[in-house]
């Protein structure tokens, strides 16, 4: 086995790298055995010299997303300060870990603490380390969050029915032409490669083959309001978001109340209950106030360039009741509408017949949306399919008359 050979020659270093990799993996950064072998090779290439060089060497191999940096940094400093200390820590079962970091990193440290705690077990039975997941670290907040959610208005049976219906829901988003081709009899362009190959098979003349432009759904972005005023609907919408996330690729989902949370990765779980539990654990502003302007600003500044590429469509689900005064809101909506192909607003308040956009937030948002839709029941969600399936010229609402 080549791996053991390496370990033999390099002695403790290779072994330490192995343990370090296990710690990093336990903390939630996926590091496979291939990476570990690479790391050992890299250290051999580099030679053991400066600590800083060693740090960046490990970094280059083990980290592959920007958001893993802080976690890696902590893991590195804890582990390589003194591997002996790790052993002591593992035997003392973690309460001694002390890392001076800002509060926002605390969660990660807890993750890391879990990983160090469990790697003790893993050392005795290596198969167990598959089980290390960072779910466990959120237990404290999740209980509180679950208590805070109050979407129990629907009876269990109603809820189940709704869930089933939503799971079946498909969104036929209109397709847009891409720059790729596919062969087609009705195509308008000659596919030279296929024609020439065909000509060598048949006799005499060159028979022309055709190709046409491929079409594809644009990416879809969903921004869903989970503030107090929306709480009766938010569970439904989460089911809705889960349903369509698993139906197709290129969907990004965010929820916001007082702050913005990206829940795309949580929704990828096939099982809707697992997915929603995982969302509930990661979000801590359920049923609170709404700061639409601030959340949109955060989205615009931090995320819009990363998730609105390739002509994405944006779906905002919100009642538009902003706790902050809506000064900044119009500006942020303007920015958002400029970065997206189409901006659709689903508003559950629209079911009231005498609804008028009097709230400041609604007035501020309305001029920038292309479609303004009701979304209080299953029917309105179904009707959404129809809106999304046609490509419309961009169109702006100036008053409520336009909505009807």
């Amino acid at each position: 086995m080549p791996a053991t050979a390496v370990i033999d020659t390099e002695g403790r270093m290779a072994e330490n790298i192995l343990y370090f990799a296990r710690l990093v993996r336990g903390a939630g950064i996926p590091v496979g055995p291939g990476k570990v072998l690479d790391a050992i090779t890299a250290v051999k290439t580099l030679g053991v010299g400066q600590r800083q060089d060693f740090y960046w060497c490990m970094f280059a191999l083990f980290v592959n997303r920007e958001d893993q940096r802080a976690l890696f940094d902590q893991a590195f400093h804890i582990f390589w300060r003194n591997p002996r200390m790790m052993e002591r820590m593992m035997s003392a079962m973690l309460p001694t870990i002390k890392v001076d970091r800002e509060e926002e990193l605390e969660e990660m440290t807890r993750r890391l603490a879990d990983a160090t705690g469990s790697s003790n077990l893993a050392a005795s039975s290596p198969q167990d380390d598959e089980e290390i997941e960072f779910d466990a670290s959120f237990t404290y907040s999740s209980k509180e969050v679950l208590q805070d959610m109050d979407f129990e208005d629907m009876s269990v049976e109603e809820l189940n029915q709704a869930k089933l219906a939503i799971a079946r829901l498909r969104l036929p988003i209109m397709k847009v032409p891409t720059r790729r081709f596919q062969s087609s009899l009705q195509g308008s362009q000659v596919d030279m490669r296929a024609s020439l190959r065909a000509s060598l098979r048949s006799s005499d003349s060159i028979e022309l083959k055709f190709k046409k432009v491929q079409q594809r759904h644009p990416p879809l972005l969903i921004l869903c309001d989970i503030s107090g005023s929306m709480s009766r609907y938010s569970r439904m919408f989460l089911h809705f978001m889960h349903g369509i996330t698993n139906d197709r690729d290129r969907i990004q989902a965010f929820v916001f109340g007082t702050r913005l949370t990206n829940i795309t990765r949580h929704l990828r779980h096939r099982d809707v209950d697992v997915a929603l539990d995982s969302v509930a654990e990661s979000v801590d502003d359920w049923s609170g106030g709404t700061r639409i302007g601030a959340c949109l600003k955060e989205f615009n500044n931090r995320w819009s360039r990363r998730v609105l590429g390739q002509g994405a469509i944006t779906l905002i689900i919100s009642d538009g009741l902003d706790r902050d005064n809506a000064d900044d809101l119009a500006q942020q909506m303007d920015r958002l509408s400029k970065s997206t192909r189409r901006l659709i607003w689903l508003n559950p308040l629209l079911r009231y017949e005498k609804f008028e956009p009097k709230a400041k937030g609604i007035k501020a948002m309305l001029p920038y949306v292309d479609d303004f839709r009701s979304s209080h029941n299953l029917n309105s969600l179904m009707a959404l399919s129809e809106v999304l399936s046609r490509e419309q010229p961009r169109h702006r609402y100036s008053s409520l008359q336009d909505i009807a």
Binding site: K35, A60, N64, R193, L200
Partner: protein, 309 residues
Amino acid sequence: MSTAIPETIEDTLSLLSQGNYVADRSLATTLFLALKMERPLFLEGEAGVGKTEIAKVLAQALDRRLVRLQCYEGLDVSSAVYEWNYSRQMIEIRLAEAAGEIDRKDLSTDVFSEEFLIERPLLQALRTDEKGPPVLLIDELDRTDEPFEAYLLEILSDYQVSIPEIGTIKAEQPPIVIITSNRTREIHDALKRRCLYHWIDYPTAERELQIVAARLPGIAKQLSSQLVAFVQRLRQEDLFKLPGVAETLDWADALTQLDTVALDGDAIDNTLGALLKYQDDIAKIRGSEAAKLLEQVKSEVSNLEAMSG
């Protein structure tokens, strides 16, 4: 024979500085490893922090050919890897027919051979010339779609391309591969796994000053320390798009073109377009905000000077 690849991290740093590229030690370490281990280097960071530049500098300093593939949505095999030369193929077929050769099977192996292949950047990058294997820059990978990303997996892990009609073309010596991404979307883990990853941050004030000095040797010292301090402050502001190093250099250039020797409110307002590229941001900074920042910058710079002098 071309310049040999560096043997230590210090060598890597000095190699980059030959090309007027001021790099962090962390970047040099990763680059050194990428060269040594013959792995692609995957660079992420905000726009304008010098990701693309590193490939250019590397090619120049090592005296290698630079093969650049600019990615865009819909980039496909025929424009990135290879294309058959159809007109030549057709002429060949006509000639063969005129000469009375009618063995179709022979003809097809004839026409679909390397002779009729038009090589695009990725295939070109597998060819070693007298200078050695080239530097392959795959720029802004996030702009392509997922299918193309998947196609790259074979090239990046085995340095080979499969062409159905011919077979596999493998590089004699692996090229030096630099991949950049602006993170307009996340790149798949499968691709990242094959690369060494590095995140390029905005530089510190000290390093940014070195960069300005290296790139614009003629600039007045006072101006450069002021403008770097100003940009550093600007990056603390709440803006839609923060200025990168490229913007700093543009701005420094703009100011020298206007014969500015020290920053003042008017000079900033007039040249802000070199630094900020969104109207909202410009409107926010122009005027009083810029004056406020400038005030802070001036006291900071004079403090520094007092301390050093």
